[in-house]
Symmetry: C2
Subunit: 208 residues, 2 copies
Amino acid sequence: MYAHALIPFKPKNPKTRLSDILSLDERETFARAMLEDVIFAVRDALCSPVVVGTELFDSEDVQITVPDADLNKTLNQILPESIGPLLIIMADLPLANREAIHQVIRSESDMAIVPGRGGGTNVIYLKEPQRFHVEYYGTSFLSHMRIAQEAGLSCEVIDSFRLHTDIDEKEDLVEVLLHGSGKSRACLESLGFVLTTEKGRVGVERKR
Amino acid sequence: MYAHALIPFKPKNPKTRLSDILSLDERETFARAMLEDVIFAVRDALCSPVVVGTELFDSEDVQITVPDADLNKTLNQILPESIGPLLIIMADLPLANREAIHQVIRSESDMAIVPGRGGGTNVIYLKEPQRFHVEYYGTSFLSHMRIAQEAGLSCEVIDSFRLHTDIDEKEDLVEVLLHGSGKSRACLESLGFVLTTEKGRVGVERKR
């Protein structure tokens, strides 16, 4: 195994920006499907997934339960105690695959990062986790680049649309239906989602 | 030089989906800046840029002037007559860089493709252009995958967020300000655009 992979996950009331088109139950099912796709990719890249959340959920995966819902506080407690290289990967990246994760963990720099859409951070790889701390939310990509520089860590920005594409809004579902091959896509299809084209622009709609 | 790179470009009234925040003149200036960033990246990857449009514009770049504004018709007249490998790259990819283009043109498959956001096609690389025809608009990514299969061409999907990120809407400008380093970013900055964070989400606003 190359590295442990921390996957922060919120099983209850996830993905609220999809509330217009998915019920609470459906959002929980879809979030879980995305998590499973990420876990599959992580394993396929020979890393060990560790799901991090405030509550246990029914799963055979390795889980860490933390008292605090604050992602930064949680991770910044784990990082100083980590031994060996560490991957932190978000649970809403259903297009993740082995090749993309390999690109990250094979970086020759001290750390590697994949920006999310809109300035977020989707993946961080740390060869020496105890030298770094996280600062998610807002333009966390810029924050993490600054923290790396302050810590004297060389940092490679990995160019991957599969890891760049976090799924938050209705229009993002287009990418899952187009480029996904795992449980998230199957989940959307079973809920009746199909691609549509209107005035040359592609969207999704629910057939039933 | 590895390949000719066709860059379709519309100098007049481009990027209409940015009309709310940019005047006609500003849109033309910004589109031109993006084109120049693409041309720079193409040259940096040792390819020869050829700008394809319905009218000449003031530039020292190699230009082909075509009578028809229909992108498909235009390219499908050029493809059968092309000798040697060909790159077709859109003009609205200001994050393009040498490494990403190299990933495309070093594909071992008969062709390589980079999907755009929402099912479009941002880059196509063809080792034998005369065996392919294009079908832009709508879910052109799926169309191009089908055409490749029908033509018996192996096709690699290149995983690059730099080439995946086409700039059409206001929220896309965030990516230029965050990850751009060329004329497009300088153009936006000179027009007064800055990053903003509201409720944890990042956007742009115009300061003056």
